[in-house]
Amino acid sequence: MTNYTSNDPLIIAGREFRSRLWVGTGKYKDFEETRLAIEASGADIVTVAVRRVNITDKNSENLLDYIDPKKYTILPNTAGCYTVEDAVRYSRLARAAGVSDLVKLEVIGDERTLFPDTAGLIEAAKILIAEGFIVLPYTNDDPIVAQKLMDIGCPAVMPLAAPIGSGLGIRNPYNLKIIMDTVKVPIIVDAGVGTASDAALAMEYGADAVLMNTAIAGAQDPIMMATAMRYAVDAGRLAFKAGRIPRKLYATASSPIEGML
C-alpha cells in the first residue's frame, strides 16, 4: 500500500519548510501550553512579536526558552505597527535581535478590523527588500495587491481569510482562488481561520500553507485543536493534490447497473 503523506516541502526564498501549518505564539495560558500546542501542530515555523523586555521583573521567563530557535524557524512580525516607519523600525529591531532576515510584515490600517494598509505595506516592503530582508507580507485578499507584492520581490504572499482573530473562516474564496491562480509565489492564508474545516478548505483551494494563532490558542483545548489543525492542513493538501471531482447538479450512480435482477 502506498502511504501517501502531504509531506512535500514548502520552499520559500531557498528555505525548506516541512510543515504547511504555521502557528503564532500569542494568547496562550502560559509558555508550557504554547510549547505543547506548537508541538502538537507539527509546525516548524512560528511567529513572534517584538516587544520591550521587562527590566523590572528579573524572573520573567523567555519565550525562546520554550520554543527552541534551533528546532523552529522564528518568524518575527511587525504586529501593532500602523505606519511604514514603525513597521520598518520593528523589522530592523527583529533582525538585530534574531538571526535571520525573515519578517512577517504587517502595516495595519485600522484598529477595529486590523485590515492591512496595503499602500503602506507595499512601501514598507520595498524599503525592507532593498535592505536584504525576506519579506512575507500580511495582505488583504486582493489579487492586484498580491501581484504587486510578488512583483516587488516578496518570496511569498500572505492574504487574510477573514479579520485577525475573528474565526470567520474564508470570507472571499473566489478572490483567494484568483490569488492562488495568478500569483506565482507561495500563498500562505493568514488570519481568520476558526476551525479545522476552514484550514482544510484553504489548502483544498490550493494555498501553500495556512498561518493561525487564535483558532488554536483560543480553543477550549488548544492542544487538541492544534492536532486537529495539523490533520486538516494535511487532508486539505492531499485533497488538493489528488484532484477533486467536478461538481454536478444530478446524481451519477456509483454502483453498476449490470447484474441487477
Binding site: V23, G24, T25, G26, K27, Y28, F31, T34, T47, V48, A49, V50, R51, R52, V53, I55, T56, K58, N62, L63, L64, P69, I74, P76, N77, A79, G80, R92, L93, A94, A96, A97, G98, K104, E106, I108, L114, Y138, I164, G165, D190, A191, L211, M212, N213, T214, A217
Partner: protein, 68 residues
C-alpha cells in the same frame, strides 16, 4: 549619569557599555535588540558602545504573538 531604559529613568556610573548594562539587568545579549537614541546597534558593538548621559535606550526581544 542619567539614562532612560525602556521608558524608565535610571542612574548609572560611567563608563557604562551596553554589555555592562545588559549584565546589570540580568539580560542575555543573545536574542535582544538594543536601540540607543533610535539607532539600532550591531550586537558586536555591545562591549565597546559607551552610553552617554541622557541616552534613551530601548531593549527589545521576542514575545508571544500571532498577528496584530
Amino acid at each position: 549619569m542619567k539614562i532612560i531604559v525602556n521608558g524608565e529613568n535610571q542612574e548609572h556610573t560611567v563608563p557604562l557599555t551596553v554589555t555592562t548594562l545588559l549584565q546589570k539587568l540580568d539580560l542575555q545579549t543573545e536574542q535582544v535588540a538594543v536601540e540607543v537614541n533610535l539607532t539600532i546597534l550591531d550586537r558586536l558593538t555591545f562591549p565597546t558602545w559607551e552610553l552617554q548621559d541622557g541616552d534613551k535606550v530601548e531593549i527589545l526581544s521576542f514575545f508571544g504573538g500571532g498577528a496584530s
